[in-house]
């Protein structure tokens, strides 16, 4: 996919259920051929966004553009979008073949072409030979595949997947993550995937849109969002974080726990109140003399590939650390970290301001 063209755009979309605002000023664009994930807790409005895109519900305000055309009020059956539903929603009265052929038959396609296409797509999802099975005779993973086949056989430009892997067990889920990703790359279809599982979103996506309370909090590549969360919610929701209150002394200097540290952030007012994020894997354990911070260890758990250490500093802030070795002297432990490991967040900064500030002040740091 050398050229990137916009396939879907939502402009200032609102959706209300009675007094409740389910979607609150949603804006985003999707490019052709990429894998996008909507990530957010249950009830944050992810399914509602998918339904306004597929046409199963209509936006109360704002615009939905598909290929540059306004489809805000176009009914679902006329949109070139297909959905893999949350609980698959396969037709129980039809067998696998007829389920997959459903969309093609509506298009009045020749029987021979329908046969060819269904057989081909069943091969893609490794379900060839299952044509005559009823849905009730399939396992969860197989139903999942049929649901995907039923959608992609129509060759949609945009495929919507609603928590498609959530019902599967852990092992099958990881396998399907690989398969979905490689399927998307082979087909070149834009995928819009909805999940509440941050690991899943981080692993599969070209771009993640983090949602909370009907709003998009932040969008960006998985690495950007992980390394530079915009606010407390995102930092907390994606990966484990240490988040402590601090003060931005001046550009590239932040104070917390009574000390001032060098950091990589800038562009804030002097002495502005901020929050500082430090990821547990970015902290190194050292001697109290060499440490930038000194903490007391409360507990440590062996997690196989690392030790998970819970500790607190003299101000009572909790610090979570992932260390390679266990800690012997639990009383006083030094913690060290690089200036780049600190990420400073302003209160109530919106995404446009955040992006502008980052691109202005962090040009030099992008090399790492």
């Amino acid at each position: 996919m050398a050229k990137t063209e916009t396939i879907l755009e939502l402009q200032h979309v609102y959706k209300y259920f009675d007094d409740f605002t389910a979607l609150d000023d949603i804006n985003f664009t999707l490019d052709q051929g990429k894998f996008y994930s909507f990530l957010g807790p249950s009830g944050s409005g992810k399914t509602t966004i998918l339904r306004t895109v597929s046409g199963l519900i209509l936006a109360d305000k704002g615009k939905v553009l598909f290929d540059g055309q306004d489809i805000t009020n176009l009914p679902a059956e006329k949109r070139k979008v297909n959905t893999v539903f949350q609980n698959y929603a396969l037709f129980p009265h039809l067998n696998v073949f007829d389920n997959v052929a459903f969309g093609l038959r509506l298009k009045k396609m020749a029987k021979s072409e329908i046969d060819d296409r269904v057989v081909a797509v069943l091969k893609v999802i490794q379900m060839d030979g299952y044509e005559n099975r009823m849905i009730s005779e399939l396992s969860g993973g197989q139903q999942q595949r049929v649901a995907i086949a039923r959608a992609i056989v129509n060759e949609p430009r945009l495929l919507l997947l609603d928590e498609s892997l959530s019902a599967l067990d852990q092992k099958l889920r990881q396998q399907m993550q690989y398969e979905l990703r490689s399927l998307q790359q082979r087909l070149g279809i834009t995928f819009l995937f909805v999940t509440h599982d941050q690991e899943e979103a981080l692993a599969m996506s070209d771009e993640i849109l983090v949602m909370n309370d009907g709003k998009i909090q932040q969008s960006g590549t998985p690495v950007d969002i992980y390394d530079e969360p915009i606010n407390h919610f995102v930092a907390n929701f994606i990966g484990a974080s240490n988040i402590v209150p601090g003060v931005m002394v001046r550009d590239y200097e932040v104070a917390f726990v009574g000390k001032t540290f060098e950091c990589a952030d800038a562009g804030m007012r002097p002495n502005e109140k901020v929050e500082v994020v430090l990821r547990p894997e970015d902290i190194d354990v050292t001697t109290p003399e060499q440490g930038k911070l000194v903490v007391h260890v409360d507990s440590q758990l062996f997690r196989g590939d690392h030790f998970e250490i819970n500790s607190h500093d003299e101000d009572g802030n909790q610090w979570l650390i992932y260390a390679t070795n266990s800690i012997e002297d639990k009383d006083k432990v030094g913690l060290s970290f690089t200036p780049n490991a600190l990420h400073v967040m302003r209160f109530n900064e919106d995404e446009a301001d955040f992006d502008a500030r980052l691109s202005q002040y962090e040009e030099g740091d992008n090399a790492d």
Partner: protein
């Protein structure tokens, strides 16, 4: 739950014996008696002549055909009214209330309802009053095939609506969304998804309406008068008027056989689905 787990083979017996007693006394014994009676002629001799008469007489065969035809028309009319109604009901807000209103008439005695219709359809009834008012003039409504079919359908409608309604509300709305998502408009969704998924309700409804309609006699008499002669009225005639119990029982046996055939035909699809 607890009851089920504590029911062992021995203490389960009392429950079952009550059930078997009931079935034996009120289902098997009467049917056996009817079959037994059907082999006796009017002179109380053991004979097959009742069956011979039934099969060779054009009067009885015509009556059988009539019963079938009326039951068929009643069922088709009932279905045509009930399916859209049941579908519409699933879209309403106070569904339980509407369902109650549909069940309510079934609590009223059949005879009362029949007399109500006699009033409505009679020469001085409200329908004829209306026809006079719009200038058509009074018509003969009672004792016609049409009025018989209309009233029979009216009485059967709740028994058709309920099973269809139940099978419709069982359909997961996500499946209907999936149909639209795949490009089906409302009519295509109804035809390809909703109707096939509610077919078991339709089957139950058809059974519940067709079989009783075969042997109607009270409303046949009261609304259809002497013009409509079906197996139901023939049985009544033989038992109450001509006192030919043997012939009446023979027709009863024929009805029972027809019922079994109807049930086998309408249940066929359900078995097929479980198998495939």
């Amino acid at each position: 739950m607890k009851k089920v787990t504590t029911l062992t083979k021995t203490n389960r017996l009392p429950y079952f014996s009550l059930y078997f007693l009931w079935i034996g006394l009120f289902v098997i014994a009467p049917v056996a008696l009817i079959v037994y009676q059907s082999f006796f002629g009017i002179d109380h001799s053991l004979t097959l002549s009742n069956y011979r008469t039934y099969l060779s007489s054009s009067v009885y065969l015509r009556m059988t055909f009539n019963s079938f035809w009326f039951a068929f028309l009643i069922t088709v009319l009932t279905l045509a009214i009930s399916y859209p109604t049941a579908y519409f009901l699933t879209k309403l807000e106070h569904r339980q209330l509407w369902i109650l209103l549909i069940i309510l008439p079934t609590w009223i005695n059949l005879l009362l309802k029949a007399y109500a219709f006699i009033g409505i359809f009679s020469q001085s009834g409200s329908v004829n009053n209306f026809l006079t008012f719009i200038g058509v003039g009074p018509q003969q409504l009672l004792f016609t095939n049409t009025s018989f079919i209309l009233v029979a359908a009216y009485i059967q409608i709740p028994f058709m609506i309920l099973p269809i309604y139940n099978s419709l509300v069982d359909i997961d709305p996500a499946i209907i969304n999936a149909s639209h998502d795949l490009g089906a408009n409302n009519f295509q969704t109804l035809w390809r998804v909703i109707f096939p998924m509610s077919i078991n309700g339709v089957r139950s409804g058809v059974q519940a309406v067709f079989i009783p309609s075969l042997s109607l006699f009270m409303i046949t008499r009261l609304i259809g008068g002497n013009k409509v002669i079906t197996l139901g009225t023939a049985i009544e005639e033989h038992f109450m008027t001509t006192m030919n119990w043997g012939m009446g029982s023979t027709i009863g046996v024929v009805l029972i056989i027809i019922m079994f055939i109807t049930m086998a035909l309408t249940a066929g699809g359900r078995k097929g689905k479980a198998k495939s």
